[in-house]
């Protein structure tokens, strides 16, 4: 067992967990932040993407103990004062989600893209999102949502 202390969505948390607990399990099972989804076992699908110290990572690939002291933002942490993040708003407006399962990871990944590049081209958006699989949307409205968010952020 290992004590892990993190700041998650602005709140300090400290929990005793088995050494091998990955961040996605820590968030879902220990903190009940079930907005972070797990869609595969090989770090391919991207449904579990969160931000650690401002950068997007697949939370199934990081041991919670390995990021001790970090600031973690999950999909639940994007809403501020009851208002959705511009990326969340844009996904709604452009119908960038259907079943919603890949959506949290997709949104977190897209926000990190805009942190890197303010006004990405369609190709840059599609290339960046290569690590996030969506089975419902055919990606077209996701690309539209990211462009819309880029114009608002």
């Amino acid at each position: 067992m290992k004590k892990v202390s993190l700041e998650v969505n602005g709140k300090k948390v400290s929990k005793e967990v088995p050494d091998h607990t990955v961040l996605s399990v820590f968030l879902r099972e220990v903190l009940n932040l079930t907005g972070t989804h797990v869609g595969c076992d090989t770090s391919q699908c991207g449904a579990c993407v969160v931000h650690v110290d401002g950068k997007s990572i697949k939370s199934c690939t990081a041991l919670a103990a390995d990021i001790e002291g970090s600031k973690v933002t999950t999909i639940e942490g994007l809403v501020s004062n009851g208002k959705m993040h511009p990326m969340q708003e844009a996904f709604k407006k452009q119908h960038g989600l259907q079943c919603g399962f890949c959506t949290p990871g997709m949104v977190m990944s897209a926000i990190d893209l805009l942190n890197h590049k303010k006004n990405p081209s369609d190709k840059e958006i599609r290339d960046w999102l290569e690590g996030n699989i969506c089975r419902c949307t055919g990606y077209q409205n996701i690309v539209a949502a990211v462009k819309e968010a880029a114009s608002k952020m």
Binding site: I75, K92, G100, Y139, I142
Partner: protein
Amino acid sequence: MASLVGSRVERKEDKKLLTGRGKYTADVTFAHQTYAYFVRSPHARAQIKNVDTSKAEKSSGVVAVLTGKDIANDKIGGLIAGWRIKSEDGSDMKVPAHPPLASESVNYVGDHVAVVIAESLDEARNAADLVKVDYKVLKAVVKTDQAMDSENIYKDIPKNLCFDWLLGDREKVKEAFDKADKIIKIDLINNRLIPNAMEPRAANADYNPSTEEITLYTTSQNPHLARIIISAFNGVAPENKLRVIAPDVGGGFGSKIYPYAEEVVCSWASKKIERPVKWVADRTESFLSDCHGRDHVTHAELAVKNDGTFLGFKNETIANIGAYASVFATVTPTYLFGPCATGVYKMPAAYSNVKAVFTNTAPVDAYRGAGRPEATYTIETLVEKAARELGMDPAEIRMKNFPTEFPFQQTLVHSVDSGDYNAGLKKAMEVGDYKGFEKRKNESASRGKLRGIGFCSYFEACGIAPSAVVMSLGCGIGLWESAEVRFNPTGNVTVFTGSHSHGQGHDTTFAQIAADRLGVPLENIEISHGDTDKGPFGYGTYGSRSLTVGGTAIVKACDKIVAKGKKVAAKMLEVNESEVDFKDGEFIVAKSNKKKTIGEVAFACYLPGTYGEVKSPLPEGEEPGLKETSFFDPGNFSFPAGSHICEVEVDPETGNTEVVKYTAVDDFGTIINPLIVEGQVHGGLAQGIGQALYENCHYDDTGQLVTASYMDYTMPRADNFPEFNLGFTCTPATSNPLGTKGCGEAGAIAAPPAVMNAVMNAVGTEVSMPATAEKVWNACQKMNKSNSKAA
């Protein structure tokens, strides 16, 4: 009040899904819950000689280890095939027993042998490794086209043949072929796919010893069907003691229509140990044990006149249905496939003969389009080949054979109520700038690329389905749909539907319909689905049926509300009922302009008397309350149709193929929410293009699934697609009052032939799906050689 039908209304369900507040089955946690881990067969075919659970039982945290013997001792029934197909010779289909946990033999890699239930998932998984199963490994039957010539998997099923089915008239086809100027022949493989909804299947069953009721949370497109099967066939609990809840579900595409072994086992085990039992598939389990799709080997022929007129069609197909017959496994390659295989054309004579075979692979069942993509791929590659061989334009040969008068009696089964196929194809050619293709081709050539163009015109039978028709064809269930519209006393509305939404946006589309019909603001309408304890029985979501069948039930229930409301309003307004009109949420007396809102009328229905200021006596004989139910059984299928045009660029140096332009023009009848419909088309196209270029399920010769992870099975990514050009035509359906036809499957149906016809047009020779770089490169090499020989 402006009509909401036809408006691009943003989805009501989005906020929860976008903020991490969705609740999927894996998110459901009960106090004192246990965790299930399944022991699965590592062999494709083996006899089980012994299962030794003694070590596992002693392992840390283990609550129970249950095997096939335990489930048989408790008389839990097997999984079922829901549609009885008869062979051409009149005999019934043959299906093997399918116990939820195997006790005698295992028949595919991933087949369920035992379940370990423990205090934690880690403990369950560790103990599962300690279950010792003694197998006698047998030679596996794997290949679709060799199954009938292989050893029998089941001793009473000769040639591994489930059925040998015929639809159509062989004699008439022979006569038509005798008259033909030319016979076009084609051999095709419709590649096997793995549906891959992003949410892996999961179940959490909670037995309540006090009420003796099981509540099963599950990833289902169809919770009512799950309940009736788990009750009536598996015998786990009576229907009134089993509540099935499918909360937010992360995609289905057919693979979550029917209950699987895991749901039966978790429910049964929960009752046995009197604690909740939770199971969540990991992705490899999903690959191994979700029902797969397609997997046909087809030989088809088209008889034509030199002017391009079609005279007859024959289709000989072997369909692999895997190790067991899943719920819709037998209808998918028959009645969903055969009738549509003649395509969208006048075809004087036709038959489809399908031999369904068992193999030692995962069960194959409905996957987006279910039978219709296979049908459309067959006819549309054949038609394109006919155009090539006759030297005709691919659009011209199609238009020559389109029906122009509706209703159109299609050759094999369907009476198509409405359509305008010429308009669709013409619009596609316009939207896709067909005229400019040669110029684009030359431009591609200047960069060393081969550009090809491919057409697909399709129709599909959706709005599944008229119960009397499908039952006469062997279906073991009805396929109507239910709705209950419940006015709450304060005037807001809850609409219950027996269909289920797992991405399709019913919360919004159905609310738009009810809002228009009742004149109640959208935000005051809640759509409720997915809980067998809430709304009436229904048949769930698949076959592009929810709006056409379930939406119509909502319309009918709303109409009943308005009819009762008129009576109540008349009493309140002290006029005859015939003097009351209903418009935009108000009951109005035209001559006096006196009115009551539907909210006031609803309130009156719950306060049927006079009390101080409240004066709302109900008309004599009227019951209080305002709640109406409708069960709608359609009179016919609905028939979406359209034409898609794809352009690809092939790099002859690498074989890499890219879809560079894609135009889809579809006729879905009336469109309620264009935003949602466009999204459905995009998603279907991605899956269809995925089948054509990327996806392929591969078993090796011993029956091991080679493509059992996202490292091995190519899922289409964002950078695999161009921006799709969509267009719509509209001929409203006449079989339902909304005029809708369904849109969920169109993309997956039309895209594979459109893409493959484009690939073949680019490289000049036949290529099979998926058109991987290796196959396309080899095709280019072959063409180079034959071209240089010719020179």
